[in-house]
Amino acid sequence: MFDFFKGFGVTFSTMFKKVVTEEYPEDFPPAAPRYHGRHQLNRHPDGLEKCVGCELCAWACPADAIFVEGGDNTEEARFSPGERYGADYQINYLRCIGCGLCIEACPTRSLTMTNFYELADDNRQDLIYTKEQLLAPLLPGMEQPPHPMRLGKDEQDYYVQGPVLARQGVESDPVGEQVR
């Protein structure tokens, strides 16, 4: 007789506990702060790209998900401080395993990972993200490259005084690394 209630014991007790189920997609719960989500190519405070097209991320990637091709900055068309910039940049999210080795390899902290995790689609082509999709959005005070270096006369100024310059720029989240 009590077997019936015994059998439902688990059911009834669970009914009164806090649920762990996420109401996704109605609800959009944030991921853990250090979650390895979609990548982002960051910018210097004046909007120039941090990526120097060095391909170290591509080199580090165990899944061969990244494609980079460097390019030459000229005085007329400057995309990053210094001589070199990432002219072509693609990440293939069909391949990426979210390991984060690429962001560890990046010498300029250009490549970081955001918390964005909605990386699914119904075709392969759209899962190859291009540079335009990966670049961080322009925040106030930033200017769409190409444009000349606004924060110093050469790349040293950007790297050596980067944090200082950044603080002078926008108060919070200067380089937009924490965009959702």
Partner: protein
């Protein structure tokens, strides 16, 4: 070199006893033992410098240790020496680590943006011999960067480790000492003199041997990383030396070319043309689809099936009418040239086939027949006591051979004679004795000198060599004079054509008088061999040369032409050639790029450039230089395949579907064993002494010019020698020219205007680069070497 016993010494390295030839450099002995001592400045082909101090080892001589670690790249081995490298000696290890730390003090953290990253001896050796952290906390020395030392070579002084490989290369090997060490101490740097840009035909080699990323090339800058590249061993297509190279591709595009290491041919060098001229592969002029001329006279893209059908129908009609001529061009592999030779005989039914897409003569052909089995090699040229060059400027027309000759001059004082017009940079850098001649009179000059004297004495030394360029064909009687001189002195003769395919095409019978293997058309037995192999009957009458074929086409004596990579503007009379191409009834062109021929063609069939085809070049030594494609497909087929399919449409089989099939078919024929006699032509009439306002024209091509395979290479073009009119001071004065002012050289057809530069030409002679920007001698003037031209100032 003799193989008599060389003296040896016995020494101990890291506890291993080793015997080494006396005089060997310690670092080489270590290498042979498999012990790698880190190094930067040491290079096996350059003189020891001991500049970087990275190769320190501990040395004990006669039981007494030397007070300090020694540089193993400058020290020669000695009997009883006891050497301890970093593997067994803490002292050597510490010394090497110290040197590395010192080198890195001022080295920027540029690896991520440096082209050398990933294949950098400094990176690698910093890992193997360096400490993980630096004690240097001060600010590093910086320089503005990059510093263009030419339009192609960029210098980043911060990265330089002052190993002096580049300066030693330019000074010792190329002989262009334009880059050098400047300043002293921490400010020591590589640089160029203000007024002299680093203008060298071999500058690319400095980029390859720089052990850091201090020298980079404008063309390859930031294009890729070593791990992106797919490397294929390749053979350079730009001249007849057949240099070993390495083609690096990424995503179906050639990114760069590097010199391969072939001690018998190019050692480790390439000229800049071979290294940097490859963008033609992606040029907008490239053709990759068959084209057909429609009713409105426009070329339209069609399918292969349709193009081949129309081509075959047109050629069959032409064959039935007055016949077909075949012009093969000088850029073919042996296999492709064989396909042309066989196509002419089997499908077109004629001996009217010629590879010579440049001025040529019947005398030349007779001379070439004696050159079918070459005996001279790079090594023989290097060992020769004396060398005479005829009809060629070594540096401009065969860069790698020039380096060999220069090496011989430096190493054992080889005597070089150059039959030419002025002391070109190449003449000066080989310390050559210039035998000056009025253009066109070279044959008589050589004959006069053959009587006896310095030249004959020098060439009589055993092993001497006479190098004959293909420009010799522009001077009547010159080949005969060379043959005579060779007989008198016993010197060996080597034909060094300018183009990569010339010798191969000669060997496989793409000439009117010879069948494959050098079998004369007129020799019944030899002909019968080919007839048996091919299953056809061949006429005993030799065919016509390129000029004769084009003249016949112009006059209507030929109804069809099949033309390979021929540029009519390279021929003796471009106007006549164009007339032939325009008037012929049916013109089929096999090309990689649009050209003057494709503009006139009825059917254009695209063929594969080197990167897309396999094949074998035969270099001037007669050495076979096989190569595989470095890029897949690309939708283009090699000439031999296109001709094979075209022949099938014409109902005959060539059996040249692939380069290897063609090679198999060719090799079954084997070589011809008969001999030929040298030509004995008298020199032509010497050009008249120039009258007022006129001069005799001397002209030849420069290494870097307007060549079809050099399109789309602005950085390379920037290192070319500036086109100039040259004359000697007296002639310039007589003609009213001033150095630096403009001069115009004219004929009835047109005029070329360029700045004047004085040079030591013979009186009454002016020189023009043959095919440089603003100086297209044949097409503008309609004449060439040895012609009379009008010269005026302005």
């Amino acid at each position: 070199m003799t193989t008599t016993e060389t003296e040896t010494v016995t020494l101990t390295i890291d506890g291993i006893e080793v015997t080494a030839p006396k005089g060997e450099i310690l670092i080489r002995t270590c290498e042979r033992l498999g012990i790698i001592v880190p190094r930067f400045c040491d290079h096996p082909l350059l003189e020891p410098a001991g500049a970087c101090r990275q190769c320190l080892v501990e040395v004990e001589m006669g039981g007494r240790p030397m007070p300090k670690p020694q540089a193993s790249c400058t020290m020669t081995v000695a009997d009883g020496m006891v050497v301890k490298t970093q593997h067994t000696s803490p002292v050597a290890d510490k010394a090497q680590q110290g040197v590395m730390e010192l080198l890195l003090i001022n080295h920027p953290l540029d690896c991520p943006i440096c082209d050398k990253g990933g294949e950098c001896p400094l990176q690698n050796q910093a890992m193997s011999t360096g400490r993980t952290d630096s004690r240097f906390v001060e600010t590093k020395r910086t320089f503005p960067k990059p510093l263009p030392i030419s339009s192609q070579v960029l210098l980043d002084r911060e990265r330089c480790v002052l190993c002096q490989r580049c300066t030693r290369f330019s000074d010792e090997i190329a002989g262009d000492p334009f880059i050098d060490l400047l300043e002293r101490g921490a400010n020591q740097q590589i640089g160029t003199a203000e007024d002299k840009p680093f203008q060298s035909y071999f500058s690319g080699n400095t980029i390859q041997i720089c052990p850091v990323g201090a020298l980079t090339s404008a063309a390859y800058r930031f294009r890729s990383r070593p791990f992106d590249l797919k490397s294929t061993p390749s053979v350079c297509e730009h001249c007849s030396s057949g240099c070993a190279s390495r083609t690096d591709t990424r995503r179906g595009q050639v990114m760069r070319k590097l010199a391969g290491n072939d001690p018998e041919v190019n050692e480790e060098w390439l000229c800049d043309k071979g290294r940097f001229a490859f963008r033609y592969l992606g040029a907008k002029q490239r053709i990759t689809r068959p084209l057909l001329r429609d009713e409105s006279g426009q070329l339209v893209e069609v399918s292969w099936t349709e193009a081949l059908r129309v081509a075959a129908e047109g050629l069959l009609a032409a064959r039935g009418n007055r016949g077909i001529g075949v012009l093969a061009g000088g850029r073919l592999t042996r296999e492709d040239a064989y396909a042309y030779a066989k196509f002419a005989r089997v499908a077109a039914g004629t001996h009217d086939v010629d590879f010579r897409a440049r001025p040529h003569s019947a005398e030349e052909l007779a001379f070439l027949q004696t050159q079918l089995t070459p005996t001279v090699t790079f090594a023989a040229v290097e060992a020769a006591p004396s060398v005479l060059t005829v009809g060629m400027d070594l540096e401009e027309e065969s860069g790698i051979l020039f380096l060999r000759v220069r090496k011989a001059v430096r190493k054992h004082g080889q005597r070089v004679f150059t039959l030419g017009q002025w002391s070109t940079p190449g003449v000066e850098k080989t310390h050559a004795t210039l035998i000056k001649s009025v253009p066109g009179a070279e044959a008589s000059v050589l004959r006069e000198l053959s009587v006896g004297g310095e030249l004959v004495d020098a060439l009589s030394a055993t092993g001497s060599v006479i190098l004959v360029g293909d420009r010799a064909a522009e001077v009547p009687g010159l080949h005969s004079a060379v043959a005579e001189l060779a007989t008198r002195t016993g010197a060996q003769v080597a034909w060094v054509p300018r183009r990569a395919g010339d010798r191969g095409a000669l060997e496989v019978g793409a000439v009117p008088t010879l069948l494959p293997g050098g079998r004369p058309v007129t020799d019944a037995a030899a002909r019968a061999e080919v007839e048996r192999a091919w299953g056809v009957t061949l006429s005993a009458e030799p065919g016509r040369s390129t000029d004769e074929i084009l003249a016949a086409a112009a006059s209507g004596a030929l109804s069809g032409l099949v033309v390979g990579g021929v540029d009519p503007h390279d021929l003796a009379d471009p106007a006549a050639a164009l007339a032939g191409l325009a008037n012929v009834g049916f013109l089929v062109s096999l090309e990689i790029m649009t050209s003057a021929v494709t503009e006139l063609a009825d059917v254009v069939l695209p063929v594969a450039p080197d990167a897309h085809r396999a094949g074998t070049y035969v270099n001037w030594e007669g050495r076979h230089r096989p190569f595989a494609p470095s890029l897949d497909g690309g939708g283009v087929l090699p000439d031999c395949r296109v001709l094979d399919t075209l022949a099938v449409e014409m109902d005959v089989d060539l059996f040249t579907q692939t380069p290897s099939a063609a090679a198999g078919d060719l090799d079954r024929l084997g070589p011809y064993t008969g001999t030929f006699t040298a030509p004995t032509e008298r020199p032509g009439s010497t050009p008249r002494p120039a009258q007022v306002g006129s001069a005799v024209l001397a002209t030849w091509r420069q290494l870097l010019d307007d060549g079809a395979l050099q399109v789309d290479e602005p950085a390379l073009a920037g290192t070319a020698r500036a086109p100039r009119v040259r004359a000697n001071a007296a002639t310039a004065e007589r003609l009213g020219l001033t150095e630096g002012g403009q001069a115009s050289v004219a004929t009835d057809r047109g005029a070329i205007t360029l700045p004047v530069e004085l040079a030591d030409l013979p009186d009454g002679v002016v020189w023009l680069p043959a095919h440089s920007p603003g100086s297209q001698v044949r097409s503008t003037l309609g004449v060439g070497h040895g012609a009379l031209v009008r010269v005026t100032a302005g």
